[in-house]
């Protein structure tokens, strides 16, 4: 088995169909209905919306495929790097632990899919999480995946948990709360390793944080995740701080999201 595989090589059964990030972001239907009107960043997961249950199902399926890729990404980090100064033994142990956690998240997601009436592979899969997990530098990999994407997972799980609370769905709320606990641990792993491995290498730390910014901005997706009243997925500030983000870092993501949204608004004007 070779080291460092590509996202295109991910093995899936025939139920799964893939959609590229370009295809997703270039969907021409994202234009507003009335030319010149201020676009909305996407529908919020509010129970009073007619389509809210289907929106929750779609979001849960996206979480599910994200969990598969998080599992695969952590697994590849166990395999791709020899133990050394760049990837210490303890880092690999953390990644193996994450494999177990993400495998459990896959199991939870499949059960939740059953609960929500969703079939495995019902929605297209985007593999951007695994793409970030292909970075050849383990520090950048952990920063992009554990801090940026799993940080996003915290925001998404929190949104789903609130939806579960609002609809008095005990299963959804229970599952999201447990997964949220694990994700906080994973983000913290990313934060800890970033600090430890770049302690004496400010240039590498800067590159890692830049990679995180790129991923964070990509996933603020025109304001999809942000701090505004109508952001579909809200920044989960409290959980992010538990996970080792400083208030300034959370503020920066909020800023990036506002910027991504402003750029998307400008593009349709």
């Amino acid at each position: 088995m070779k080291r460092h595989m590509q996202a295109t090589e991910l093995a899936r059964d025939e139920r799964f169909v893939r959609i590229s990030t370009e295809e997703r972001f270039n969907d021409p239907r994202q234009v507003p209905r009335e030319p010149g009107s201020k676009r909305r960043p996407g529908p919020q997961l509010r129970p009073e919306r007619h389509e809210a249950p289907d929106a929750a199902r779609a979001m849960m399926h996206a979480i599910f495929t994200g969990e598969i890729q998080a599992l695969e990404g952590a697994g590849r980090t166990c395999w791709d790097f020899e133990v050394g100064a760049d990837s210490p033994f303890e880092l690999k142990l953390d990644m193996a632990r994450q494999c177990w956690d993400e495998a459990r998240h896959c199991e939870i997601s499949v059960k939740l899919g059953d609960h929500m009436g969703t079939e495995v592979g019902e929605y297209a899969e985007n593999v951007v999480l695994f793409e970030a997990a292909c970075n050849p530098d383990p520090v950048l990999r952990l920063t992009g995946v554990n801090r940026a994407l799993e940080g996003l997972a915290i925001d998404v799980f929190n949104t789903m948990r609130e939806y579960g609370q609002a609809t008095a769905d005990p299963v959804l709320e229970f599952c999201e709360d447990w997964m949220l606990a694990d994700e906080v641990t994973h983000v913290k792993m990313g934060s800890d390793w970033l600090r430890r491995l770049t302690e004496n290498d400010p240039e590498r730390r800067a590159r890692a944080l830049e990679f995180q910014r790129v991923v964070d901005k990509l996933f603020s997706a025109g304001g999809f995740r942000g701090d505004e009243d109508d952001s579909p997925v809200k920044l989960a500030r409290r959980f992010r701080e538990l996970a080792g983000f400083t208030p300034a870092e959370v503020e920066e993501i909020s800023q990036l999201s506002r910027q991504a949204r402003a750029e998307a608004d400008a593009a349709v004007r």
Binding site: R29, Q30, E119
Partner: protein, 184 residues
Amino acid sequence: MAAVVVTPEAFTLVQFDAGRIAELVAEVAGRVGLPADVEVRVEIDERVPLGRSRLTSLDPITIAVQGGAFENAKVPRTLSDRSVVDVVGRLLFRAVDRLDPAFADAPADEALTLPQHTAWDAYAVGRCERVGYAPSKPRRLYHFRNRHGFTDTADRVFERLWSADGLTWADLDAACAETAATRP
């Protein structure tokens, strides 16, 4: 066979085939029991990837959908026969009901509460299954529980509506009252 008019006739943002949609809708119209000479209009807003769908008129019977309602979620922007049949079957059964005097008291769609909508949907989609389609029952149950509570009562009422025939508006309204009484 029902006369079906699909607008637009050609799509530019999605790969939908109006002819195929008309064919599917005509077949559904027949199976739900609409008269052969009825006209069914389907208006699709292809610019919106979301999945809202509504019955906007009974004369002629008009269904308005956002493009996402008909798409194949596995391959975005392509048509899914199953999605078309799911949405149209559910709404045409509602049209059939509304044309029946037993539903004369039903409020207009805009005035229905979310529990009333989902109760009616459960009743409609259960019948879709019995006329030979394969809608997802677990999906409908999830919708129903979202609006009627994650309770044994809600599940029992859902099962009853799903397998029912010949209900009246009063029956649906009573079902909603029954679940409301046990909602936490």
